[in-house]
Amino acid sequence: MRDWLGQAGADAGAVRRVLAGDAEAYAELVERHRHWAVNLAYHLIGDAEEAEDVAQEAFVIAYSKLHQLRSSGAFGPWLRRILVNLASRRRRRLSRRSAAEIDPTGVGEATNSTAVAVHAVLRLMPDHLAVVLVLRELHSLSYREIAETLSIPVGTVRSRLHAAREMFRRLWDAE
């Protein structure tokens, strides 16, 4: 699922080319990172169409701020921070919609009742807990990586993850 070290070198070269004016190199970065970006947005938001929209917006924002990237090999983690912020905002906006309006099934995916139930539980959880749970359980990020993504201490990650798991378990058992 992740291979940051292997991608870091390839990303660094592509970022340098984009900054030198080779816009086509950005398409290469998009191709390399779109799978996990769309899935992370989907797991946070719960709507497949919104997830693609948010992921595209994250790539556009990353392109416009590429000159701010301190290490050209850190494009992936940096994009992840942008994406998590955007997805959290979109998630808050969507929380005002009814559950019937949200389409948790993936584009072309068969209906998965467990997936629907998991999304329903995640939607009931506060943003700051749902995010750490998704980053840890679905994207296998370490505590340190989660801390860097959310700009919080590792101890806070530990506490939030514990609280998130407790809440998920309680809500899941109640479903």
Partner: protein, 242 residues
């Protein structure tokens, strides 16, 4: 064995066990926990609960991005740069070989336009800085001359000496000033001192530390006593045609 006792009687907290489950604990602590979990039913139950939770959450499907995802990103980028990339959507529909080159050319046009604009901005700011420096130098020179005139017109007394020293120190620092202004300022100070202190002007110059300065080279007649203040001033003020 003392460390193992820490984990006996299930003193392992939920957070510790979760960190072990998440692979965040390593080394001897991980080995101790492993050994404890092997014999602790409570920890095994908690690990099982964590595993079930992970299984449930991971039941969420993995999406495959739509086929036009990358093109949509490029189109969105072009929508943000309307001046140069206005027809990017049309270009993307062109045969793939052409659209890539035109996209790059359009971006480079945009980059060059920004570069020319930035160069013009820097030139304008540099000219503005030069004007500001020239203005401040002129104001400083005018202030200096005004101070010298005040010195000349003031009543002669020994309190002039500190003022004279301060003025000359400033003049010595005013290297970018026109030479004529510096010379005139020093000349005015010298005349005023001669008129104020009367005889032995060198002693006074030495007293205020100005004797060695090139602006106060000894002039004929200084050590023999100074004339009355009026004639010295008159000679500088042009009343006798000087």
């Amino acid at each position: 064995m003392m460390a193992l006792a820490e984990f006996q009687c299930c003193k392992v907290s939920d957070k510790q066990l979760a960190a072990f489950y998440d692979g965040e604990i390593s080394g001897w602590r991980a080995r101790l926990l492993q050994a404890h979990v092997a014999v602790c039913a409570r920890c095994q139950q908690r690990l099982e609960a964590l595993s079930r939770l992970t299984w449930a959450v991971r039941s969420l499907p993995r999406l495959t991005p739509s086929p036009g995802f990358t093109e949509a990103v490029i189109e969105a980028l072009s929508a943000r740069e309307p001046l140069v990339l206005a027809d990017m959507a049309g270009q993307l529909n062109a045969p793939s070989g052409r659209s890539g080159r035109e996209f790059v050319e359009a971006v480079m046009d945009r980059v060059r336009w920004r570069g020319r604009r930035r160069t013009a901005q820097l030139a304008a700011s540099s000219a503005k800085s030069r004007r500001a420096v020239a203005a401040s130098a002129t104001v400083g020179a005018v202030a200096m001359v005004a101070a010298c005139l005040l010195l000349v017109c003031g009543r002669p007394n020994l309190a002039l000496l500190p003022r004279a020293k301060a003025i000359v120190e400033v003049v010595a620092l005013a290297a970018p000033w026109p030479e004529q202004i510096r010379a005139a300022a020093v000349g005015l100070v010298r005349v005023r001192l001669r008129g104020a202190v009367g005889t032995g002007i060198d002693v006074e110059l030495q007293h205020i530390g100005l004797l060695g300065k090139p602006e106060f080279r000894e002039l004929p007649g200084d050590s023999a006593g100074a004339p009355a203040g009026g004639s010295g001033l008159n000679s500088y003020c042009g009343k006798d045609g000087g």
